[in-house]
Symmetry: none
Subunit: 250 residues, 2 copies
């Protein structure tokens, strides 16, 4: 079984607008999904507006399969999910997108061909079409405004599928690879700054110096600095303090 | 602070197509986001195509604020995320959408106004616009087809924000009690430092200034500063730069 066969087939049932088919193809392609099937497309097929909206996802459109009815379109699939805006009382399990995505990866890894049904723009899937599925997927939305269009629903489920299949680091710290300043280097930086501030009588009184010096030190170094940042700040303080002092530089 | 104030402001920088603004508003509204700002919209505003594409998200469009430049648009925000397709070498942390969404809920629960920047359709955000942000967000995609449009990117981040809020982690911010500096205050601090450094010819050449200025800004502000820290640093730079300048102090 190839990697492509382990991914869910996206099935658009009676899609009405070519733009939405194209935008769905683009959404799929961003997240590594390439298998698209259209069931009795009302928009006709092939469709020029779909090509424009696909923004380069031509491999998806070129391989799109068209079926006259839903039963034929799912005949080779073993497990079918159906996206529906309303959780209906159909005695079929209803999954959140993330849980459905994990299930898809389990099934795909086990070699079981899977698909996701999406209904027409205006009405969504009919009850008898939903009953073709082994599980429903409902995308949670604000209760007072559930108005995702077809391509948006495809995008979100494709994203969740992609996300469930990869381990992306939660955060990349760009300074991670850079050598960190030692405590001695940080102390040297603070000492220099305090000396420069003393030279311009910044603190005015020993009490004020005693209370402000630690605040300054913490503000500049509490998250750590790289060694190159310490050099940079030393240069800044030095030049600020000496730059206007006299003729030696200007 | 109201619930609306705890949600991220969505900022579209120089959007080119009204449809995309409308589709973004629809995407936002599905996931409970209602605060939209446009920065120098190239599509013009108000925009009839945006109204059509919003599919009923008229409360979002009706409350949309328009700003002439980015600095004004983020002036009242304390923490800004920027969506970018390419993780660039900018010394700003890069977060996955889900991690960013959790951070947004923590910041929002702590009463800190936040925003998410999105760039123009064709080019995305410029480097100097990205440097306005405290963190970047990169939506993971298939490596050979990273082609999300503006409204799709808004949709995915709005969804992740909504999803992360269904289970809000207990918000613990050790500096929660102290008022944070706004973006305008941080920008003012950096502007002052750069002017002081220019006055002493710290950078020597425009190229060196262009490469060092963002490093300095990030180094000083990447973790945010409290308002009192901004005052402290402004005082430090001022006194260092002027302290030895002439007879007024010595």
């Amino acid at each position: 079984m190839s990697a492509a066969q382990a991914q869910p087939v996206i099935l658009l049932v009676r899609p009405q607008l070519g733009e939405n088919v194209g935008t769905a193809a683009r959404a799929m392609r961003n997240f590594g999904l390439t298998r698209l099937r259209l069931v009795a497309p009302e928009c006709g097929w092939p469709n020029a507006k779909a090509v424009v909206a696909a923004s380069g996802a031509y491999d998806v459109l070129g391989a799109t399969e068209v079926f006259a009815d839903l039963r034929q379109a799912v005949a080779d699939l073993e497990y079918v999910f159906a996206a529906t805006a309303r959780a209906r009382d159909l005695a079929i399990p209803v999954l959140a997108p993330e849980a459905a995505a994990e299930e898809m990866h389990r099934l795909g890894a086990a070699g079981r061909p899977i698909g996701i049904l999406f209904g027409p723009e205006r009405t969504g899937l009919e009850n008898d079409e939903l009953l073709t599925a082994q599980a429903l997927i409902t995308i949670p939305t604000a209760p007072d405004f559930a108005s995702l269009n077809l391509a948006q629903a495809v995008l979100l489920l494709a994203y969740c599928w992609f996300r469930a299949g990869i381990q992306v680091p939660a955060a990349i710290d760009p300074a991670a690879g850079e050598p960190k300043a030692t405590q001695a280097e940080l102390a040297g930086l603070i000492d220099q700054l305090l000396a420069d501030l003393d030279a311009v009588d910044f603190f005015k009184s020993p009490d004020r110096r005693a209370s402000l010096a630690p605040v300054i030190a913490v503000s500049l170094t509490r998250r750590g600095l790289t060694r190159s940042e310490v050099h940079l700040w030393r240069g800044i303080f030095k030049e600020l303090a000496r730059g206007r002092a006299g003729p030696q530089r200007h």
